[in-house]
Amino acid sequence: MKRREFLENLAVSSPSDHSFHSLTATSPRNSTPRAVSGIEPYAGVWNFQTASHLLRRTMYGARRSEVLLAASGSLSSVVSTLLADQPEPSPPLGPDGISWVHAVYDQAYGQNEGIYRNYLKAWWMGLMVNQGLSLREKMVLFWHNHFANEATDIQDARSMYRQNALFRRMAFGNFKQLVKEVTLDPAMLVYLNGYLNRGDGRNIPDENYARELLELFTVGKGPQIGEGNYTHYTEADVKAAARVLTGYRVTGSPRDRTLLNQPLGSTFDPARHDPSNKQFSSAFQNRVITGRTGADGAKELDDLLDMIFAQPETARHLCRKLYRWFVYYEIDQAVEQSVIIPLSQVLISNNYEVKPVLETLLKSAHFFDPINMGCYIKTPVDLVAGTIRQLFSELPDLSSWRNYPLADTLRNTAATLQMNLLDPPDVAGWKAFYQTPDFYKSWINTATLPVRGSYTDSLVNGIRPRNSSTTYRVDVLAYVQRFTAPGDPFKLVDDIIADLLPFDLTSNQKEYLLYHVMGLTHTAEYEWTQRWNEYVANPSNSQALTITLQALLKFVLRMAEYQLA
């Protein structure tokens, strides 16, 4: 068959669900087009491509089986599945399968804490790799990035696990409730010195947590419009909030030896609380939180949160972060008006339940606007967990003891790529989600991009983790056999592109894949079919074909397009 016939056949047989929008096919506009659509429900086609887009943004990689399943249902049903509650996973173990998450902090635990931390990180990586069709793990990471705590500072793997479990339990839960629980979370109390924040005697309140609560976790910092005035809060508000938050202590933690023999957690100590009234600024409508004494002092936290959550900025701030997590980093006036504000109203009218917001966003016309497809630079975790999920026909069970070295290698790779799970750079989380003007671009530089490539190479070539006798390797023959016609080189390349890349390649790029990477000869493309049929007839004789497919896969995985989702 001649190449042209091939192409014509392809054009005829190509299912509509593979008809990608092409990058070059977007309508000409004068300057950096942005989507004009809003949160109204998406009413366009629901197919392989749109399902891929949804799963790429909400999960780690989109396995073909999952995309096909999603495309066979409706957008609404898929989003329901993504947001469905999931059973809690078994907690992480340590070396030799020992359980440590409920351990008492003693010398033995203290000596091994650093080891457990790595086991915890590997465990979480494993949950990402072995995730089902669910948004949960990506939301756990969202909350970790939002309430960013560093395990290295906290030095207690138990409390990091406890916080991670909180994020998982409340992945699509109530934002206001989550802020309250995070405020009382022992890891957070340690990380931002909440446990040292005292209002008794000559102690000066420690403002650390109060500042981040306002600046990062809730209302967010607005433009500075006066000395110590950040529009949404002032320096005086930080001080007042800090006084509200006095009196909390961590239990079961070496940070507070007197309470060490209690279970890991936190407690309110009225004796350390500042019972005086707290005056807030005009940013909070000059509200006064009346001081309370005794055990009632703890109720001031509810007063504080009521006040903070009465500010529309709180909902907007979270919606902007969700937008940057799921859609794109650039929020211009149009996006602010047509997406952020309407979404924040959904959040407020649902009493800060996050699930309706996610549901609205993920079903919106804006989310599926072609202009918003393929513009998300994969996080290191997207790349590490996503690629393995995308390529392996049988995923290694990373909760299994035997596969710990692989999970640890994946964790380490993500860390090398500048995303060290449970150890973000600082309390603001990873720069990709807030640092102007680079945002997502901050993941990619001359040091990290080659590492991304060598990681994807290693999955195809075979990766043998340290301390493991197992080599994990993509079975490229099994991989291409997921597709309908691996013997048709044009169809095969199209299917691989649809599987791995967020948008179609140009004809020149496809030519390169076919004639350079796969080594086809013009007018002799039928030889690929022959070659494939020979392999099917005699599967033991597969080495040359395997090497070609490995080269093809490695090449596509090293394309700039693969870094996008």
Binding site: T26, L449, W528
Partner: protein, 529 residues
Amino acid sequence: MNRRDFIRKAVPVTALPFLLNGFPLRAYGRAPFLETLVAAASATDRVLVLIQLGGGNDGINTVIPLNQDSAYMNVRPNIAIPLNSVLTLSDHLDVGLHPAMGGMKSLYDEGKLTIVQGVSYPNPNLSHFRATDIWLTASDSNVTLNTGWLGRYLEDEFPDYPNDPVMPDPLAIQIGAVVSFGLQGTARTMGIAIQSPDTFYQLVNAGRGGGTDTAPDTPAGRELTYIREVAVQSQAYAGQVKVAADKAQNRSALWPAAGQNTLADQLKIVSRLIAGGLKTRVYVVNLGGFDNHSAQVDVSDTRTGIHATLLGRLSTAMMAFQDDLRLLGVEHRVLGMTFSEFGRRVSSNASRGTDHGTAAPMFLFGQPVQPGVVGSNPSLTDLTNGNLKMQYDFRSVYASVLSQWFGVSNTDLQAILLKGFQQISVIRPGVAVNVEEPDIKPTDFRLLQNYPNPFNPSTTIAYEIPRESNVSLKVYDMMGREIATLVDEFRPAGRYKAQFHANGLPSGTYIYRIQANSFSDQKKMVILK
């Protein structure tokens, strides 16, 4: 120690063009000592550049059998090259080159080109994929191998790769996107693929100046452009390859402008990497497009057309490459070789093209080659299924290159090529290693120059005795102190080799002396640490 052990362990050549034990090379002038040193050390960096002509090159219109002019015109009426325009080889008047191959004709005249006629293998396969695999794996046509011939060679030579302490550089470099199957070892590929920033750009944009492939100014387009830019930067600054490339700049004026000749663009990079001191053994480059089933020649003029353009590119690139290597002072280190998965059918088809065939000529080029034409013009009438008969198995050429250029021993050759193949002379005497000498008894007493020299830590001293003798072979320092006794016994007539290990001795000149019956002789050798 055999030669290739020496090659591996000798002084890193990278230091030589610039410094010798801390002194600029120039300070030594043209002292014979220095020339020996440079010559020997340069041998540590012998390089093979493999040019793959993808698609199946039409050998008959490349090397034209002028002894069969009427048969030639007969079988190829619509694509035959007018004989008066064919470039005739002065010492082989019956062998002509395509008129587009002026550069290669010059190389031939300079003694830098060898043509091996009629290369193929028994039961040739006419599928591009399979035939390419056969050439790259050096398998029999009915056997599938999982490793490439150069991969096996490199693995044999560097079993510890990639953790070989004496080889910090890539063993093999593929200029392009994908490492050749020819470099596949048992566990891993023995090569890496690199692309120059320019070709990389062409690749990611794949537009070749068309402009239509540039990413648009959309969110996705902007992120894509950014990642591509970083990719270009990362490639450009990739470690020692970049360092080597930066050490040397192309010098030849014969290079075509960038983007005009893809083969030349690839060889330009190879030239810089070699001259820049990379110790890489093998480079693989590609020129595709030879699968000319139709319109191989222009209707109006059979001297032009697709095939002429491709041969012109090959010839121009080869010529410029050779000129560049000469100007960069590394010509003596580099052997080039072309191959294609098959030749083409003897008779042309009706669409001014040729279909898949079998035997075709191979070219070896460079200063080290034994120049000339190996074999005779293929017969255009004595055919098998319309195809040329084989004169040489391609594995004979491989064996000759591995043995004579890289010094691979016969035992290792068996292991690499999986059976024995007869060798043909492809490397000049004096440059070639392992050239078999006729096994006749020596007629005189002789003490030969040690090899390698200079050396570290060991060298081989050969001597010949025409009759049974009491042989003594000893090593002395320049003060006349005896350092070692290598031989001291009765030996029957024959050719012998003795090994000398310089363990613990300082750098310097030493003397080795033979006495066999009444014959005596001595020579100098240099230990260089």
